[in-house]
């Protein structure tokens, strides 16, 4: 282009100079100074001719260049208007003279083109804004997802296709003892100790298996404790449905396992407890049927045993059912004013036979003037008999069990205490004695039981009667179990 401009300038200069020189010669030929004209006129005729010829060639060149320029302008206009030109069109454009209309067309085409560009720029800007919003949303979502994973109480570990850590939450870091913030891209076997290698193997194997999800119960021991985890590993798939990693979630099920074990023990204890009176009933009935009781007194004795064992069986079944009913809130409660002393007296009579059998002295108390409470009598009887029978059960022959009531007028409470001279409870086990199915390990051999009695006592006193249970104990000295209930004066207003 630059060369063309230079060429165009040279041609224009030559044309202009030739025309000027030619014109000048002609002007001098008709000018007033004849001496000068005649002096060289004949010699200068060829020069003038050459000048005219050069000027004519220059004009032709300029015309040619103008035509080329017009063609170029048309081509640009068509190009801007997105019109495809073929060879003939291009030739026609080449010979199209440059006119003002063409320049207008070019101007319009350029304007239109720029208008189109502006529209497209606006569209691009909109797209960029949309993308920025999407990026922000995506970042926020990513942040939320991370926040969710970090706040999950279960341990969560995400690995890539080479078993390297991509993400782990605080629970995982705490449990496997690694810095979960600064452990990215480390191999899981570097982060998780050898004693937990079973998990690493399971994680790696699950990822390689390419299955949807695999599950395993894993037990980890350390610091003298053992914990059981329900471990679920799910493969992570990319857009091409290829496994690109795995995510492991470890849920601590130690407590559930303990409850499961306690339930299993409970079923075992209950079946034993149910079968024992049933065994007596079956054996004595068979003896009566076979005529093994020879005299009337022996028969009466057999009938009495059968009756007592049937009652014992019924009591046990009631205990189990009541515990279940109270827990589910389905039990019908019939509260009415009652004297604690009277209820205690009734139960002392019930327990007398059992205490005599075991050679344990049971000491009652003097009646208290006012110890009215607003209670379900049957339930409180159950509480008292449970505390008394437990005390007798765990008191060796020759020992004693004492039951007493106190009234705290200031606090408007009645307090019942059952104190024995029994085996006592180790300090670390005291807090669990009211737990369901719990049996004091050290005393398990001392007597049989379901681990249900004290749990029922607590439920009746605290859940049904808004009272409180308590226990103090010393090994080889004895224990005091008891409960507090609001006096009827306070409860009465609520009942009316």
């Amino acid at each position: 282009m630059r060369l063309r401009r230079i060429l165009y300038a040279i041609v224009t200069t030559i044309v202009a100079s030739s025309l000027f020189v030619g014109s000048l010669a002609k002007w001098q030929d008709s000018g007033p100074e004849e001496g000068w004209r005649y002096a060289g006129y004949e010699q200068r005729i060829p020069v003038v001719s050459v000048c005219y010829i050069v000027g004519a060639v220059g004009v032709i060149c300029l015309g040619w260049y103008q035509l080329k320029l017009a063609g170029a302008v048309t081509s640009i206009a068509m190009l801007l208007q997105d019109k495809k030109g073929d060879g003939i069109g291009a030739r026609r454009r080449f010979f199209t003279p440059l006119r003002m209309t063409k320049i207008d067309e070019l101007y319009q085409a350029i304007s239109k083109h720029f208008a189109g560009c502006n529209t497209r720029i606006a569209e691009y800007e909109k797209q960029i804004k949309d993308l920025q919003v999407q990026i922000q949303l995506s970042q926020r979502r990513g942040g939320n997802t991370e926040a969710i994973i970090y706040s999950i109480r279960d341990a969560v570990i995400v690995i890539d296709e080479s078993d390297r850590l991509l993400m782990a939450n605080e629970a995982a870091g705490r449990f496997f003892n690694f810095d979960f913030n600064n452990s990215q891209h480390k191999h899981v076997s570097e982060l998780i100790g050898h004693d937990q290698s079973e998990f690493v193997d399971f994680l790696s194997h699950s990822r390689q298996s390419k299955g949807q999800a695999t599950r395993k119960e894993l037990e980890f021991s350390g610091d003298g404790t053992s914990k059981t985890f329900d471990c679920i590993v799910s493969c992570v798939y990319d857009q091409n449905r290829q496994v690109c990693g795995a995510i492991a979630v470890l849920h601590d099920i130690t407590r559930e396992k303990q409850i499961q074990q306690m339930k299993s023990d409970f079923v075992s204890h209950v079946s034993h407890e149910l079968k024992t009176p049933l065994a007596s009933i079956t054996a004595y009935t068979e003896m009566l049927a076979d005529g093994e009781a020879s005299d009337e007194q022996t028969r009466k004795e057999f009938y009495s045993v059968i009756q007592n064992q049937a009652q014992r069986l019924n009591r046990l079944i009631e205990n189990i059912l009541n515990s279940s009913r109270i827990e589910s809130g389905l039990i019908k409660v019939n509260k009415e004013p009652a004297s604690l002393t009277m209820l205690i007296e009734e139960q002392l009579q019930m327990i007398k036979g059992y205490a005599e059998e075991k050679n344990v002295e049971v000491i009652g108390q003097k009646p208290i003037v006012f110890d009215q409470v607003y209670v379900d009598k049957d339930m409180i009887r159950e509480v008292i008999v449970n505390l008394l029978s437990n005390a007798v059960k765990y008191t060796p022959s020759g020992g004693s069990v004492k039951i007493g009531t106190e009234v705290d007028e200031g606090a408007s409470l009645a307090r019942v205490s059952v104190t024995d001279t029994g085996v006592g409870i180790p300090e670390d086990e005291i807090e669990h004695v009211f737990d369901k199915f719990y049996r004091v390990g050290a005393n398990e051999k001392q007597a049989k039981g379901t681990g249900l009695g004290l749990s029922l006592v607590k439920q009746i006193v605290e859940k049904v009667h808004d009272g409180r249970v308590f226990v103090t104990s010393q090994v080889d000295v004895g224990s005091t179990f008891g409960f507090e209930l609001p006096l009827a004066t306070r409860q009465g207003s609520r009942a009316m």
Partner: protein, 130 residues
């Protein structure tokens, strides 16, 4: 089998009582204990012909009682019948190792128990005479 001495061990006094009546009515001599430890002392002292014991008892279980009896020269050959309220409480191998003659599940029939005692004592008598 009359005159044979049977040691009955159970922490349930009613069970001991009914078994004792059944056995006495059939000519047996009966001694009793309400836990494993007491039964062990009595067995060493009285040398019963057969022991009928409950499985789950305070102080010393029926299984611990048998283990202790098998370690002592004068009691190692006393046949034992186990009463248990827990099914499958004693694995078959353990039963054979401790030479427990038979296991009866609670609730049990006194007649069935008597039949078991007679069978075991008869086998013991045959073995001694052969």
């Amino acid at each position: 089998m009359t005159g044979k001495k049977v040691l009955v061990v159970d922490d349930e006094i009613h069970i001991v009582h009914v078994v004792a009546i059944k056995l006495r009515n059939n000519g047996y001599e009966v001694i009793s204990a309400d836990n494993g430890a007491e039964a062990y002392e009595l067995a060493c002292k009285e040398q019963p012909d057969i022991i009928v014991t409950d499985f789950q008892m305070p102080v010393m279980t029926g299984l611990e009682l048998v283990e202790n009896l098998r370690q002592r020269q004068e009691t190692k050959d006393i046949p034992v019948i186990m009463l248990t309220a827990r099914s499958f409480a004693i694995p078959k191998e353990q039963q054979e190792d401790l030479r427990i003659s038979s296991c009866l599940s609670k609730p049990f029939s006194p007649k069935e128990l008597l039949g078991n005692i007679e069978d075991v004592l008869y086998q013991k008598q045959v073995m001694v005479s052969s």
